[in-house]
């Protein structure tokens, strides 16, 4: 207000404006957002725009051989290796579903109370914190013929003769790789679900138990509604993640040998080994378009199926507040 009266009396003065509240705000907004925005543009949007441009050229990292229009895009669909690699992501999607189901099951058990729960939670969560290269070595070792997995399977009665080569056999090596990704993430998913489930007022369970509800009914009518938002979010993220699956074949198969090269691996290879930057860029753009389409479809689906999820969330928050108030009263 001070600023506007000052302006109406005298002609605009920069010095005064700097001292006014509006001016002060403008200064702080600019100084505080210039670095984050610069980083965002330089390392996210500029590469994005460049990549879009590259995708219309035949070029490597240093030399441009000429504008080729849509040829790179046509190649992506024509080349067997590029597009077939995309089908591999179905394995990872299957793995993601298994992983979410497992995480949900374990989180439910946690919420019914387990002695030593924190220890178990820690064990299952820890794989999430291991670096990718270490995971690569750990699983190369784990799956080697006659090593860890084979030994454990022999303990429970399998014969080594009947066990497959986990990483060499092209019929199962993709399952082995997906297994490592499930191994890494199920504990993290579980922690997320436990967090969401714990936000439900525990007196609800007690009331349900008194009314004779069994565990399954408690799960279905109390837990599931409270976590469906986060489960859906995770489903979306894991499907997007499956399309860009990259880590297991990259580190365990040293870059996707034996028919394990996912779309990302192919792209990395075409960009860095064959140096066909134009084609690799077109591949990336195609992948981004697929991811966008998948995200939008899922969001629409999400909105349609869980129209009232939001209302229930606010309900849960209100219940939690009430509980907190009660707790304070008792103290």
């Amino acid at each position: 207000m001070a600023a506007t009266t000052a302006q109406s009396k005298t002609p605009f003065s920069l010095a005064k404006w700097f001292k006014s509240r509006k001016g002060q705000q403008a200064i702080v907004i600019i100084t505080f957002s210039i670095i984050p925005l610069a980083l965002l543009f330089v390392f996210t949007y500029y590469p994005f725009a460049e990549m879009f441009k590259f995708s219309f050229y035949d070029r490597n990292y240093t030399k441009v051989r000429g504008f080729v229009g849509l040829k790179n895009y046509i190649d992506v669909f024509k080349r067997d290796d590029c597009f077939r690699a995309l089908w591999l992501s179905l394995y990872y999607m299957g793995g993601a579903v298994v992983q979410l189901a497992l995480a949900l099951y374990l989180a439910t058990i946690f919420c019914f109370g387990v002695k030593g729960g924190n220890f178990f939670k820690g064990c299952m969560f820890f794989p999430y914190l291991i670096n990718g290269i270490a995971i690569g070595f750990i699983f190369k070792f784990f799956y080697t013929r006659g090593f860890v997995l084979d030994t454990v399977l022999q303990w429970i009665g399998f014969d080594l003769e009947n066990l497959p080569y986990w990483l060499r056999d092209t019929r199962i090596n993709n399952f082995s790789l997906v297994g490592t990704s499930v191994w890494k993430y199920f504990g993290q998913n579980m922690v997320l679900f436990v967090g969401a489930m714990m936000s439900v007022d525990s007196s609800l369970y007690e009331a349900a138990e008194l009314d004779g509800a069994n565990k399954w009914q408690q799960f279905k009518y109390i837990m599931l509604p409270s976590i469906k938002t986060i489960v859906m979010l995770n489903l979306i993220m894991s499907i997007t993640g499956s399309l860009s699956a990259f880590e297991p074949p990259f580190v365990i198969m040293s870059g996707g040998g034996n028919g394990t090269a996912t779309y990302f691996i192919k792209m990395h290879e075409i960009a860095h080994t064959s140096q066909k930057v134009g084609l690799a860029s077109a591949m990336a753009i195609v992948l981004l378009l697929i991811i966008f389409a998948a995200t939008i479809l899922q969001k629409l689906f999400f909105k349609y199926v869980f129209k009232n999820a939001e209302d229930e969330d606010t309900g849960a928050a209100a219940r939690r507040d009430k509980k907190l108030a009660k707790g304070k009263g008792a103290a």
Partner: protein, 281 residues
Amino acid sequence: MTAGETIKKYLWIFIKYFSMVFFSFVALLPVVSCIITAFKTETEYQNTNVMTPPESWLNFDNFIDAFRRADMGRAFVNSAVVVVFVVIGSVLVGSMIAYVLNRFKFPGNGLIRSLFLFATLLPGIAMQISTYQLMYSIGFINHLYGYIILMMGTDVISIYIFIQFFENISVSLDESAYMDGASYFTIFFRILFPLLKPAIVTCMILKGVGVYNEYYSAQLYLVDKELKTVAISLYTFTGPLGSQYNLICAGVIISLVPALIIFIAFQKQIYSGLTAGAVKG
């Protein structure tokens, strides 16, 4: 209680603990087998099953050897430098932009939020092709500072965590400080920043562990032997040493130790930070 109910109750308890123990075992088995092997001598490794415990749990030769061969001392210094600078940078950058977005209404506020949101949809690795080109042309390849700046620039989760946290700090606090003559910079650095402490700890841990484990960009941009971080120093063990698993396992275990320590010390913050990030993102 009838006999049927009693059986049901015990069956449930059995299923519950069986699941817990079984999946903890599954999660730990690959790591434990690695620890066992890391303590074995060369001949022991050749002649015993991988799951047979080592003769001596005090045989640290492999660890010393692995540490030397992969030059892990150097790698730990590099990783420490990278983690410290990236964490400081991204906490400052993240909290500053969160402050601006949460406290001020200005044209473009919504746009900036959507720009950050949209950026999360672009998978970073997909854009490495042109990022590489960019890093190459501004001479950021083979310099720790180049890698540090790159790592700082791509953090949206911490911005969310900070915005969420600011929402719970009353604006009247800013107002009264302003009335007392404090500038917005003073308000941010002297009053609000100290209040953000829990959020800062969470972001530092999540970002720190993430950067410590990052290897894809590291192997692209830190090619020089002198500049290797811990994660990529493990690459030393591919090639001629590729089947000496007692050595490799020792290297792997060494690389896990910092993450393990951080995890044990800050378990609660890690869990709550993950939940906060996921719910908003």
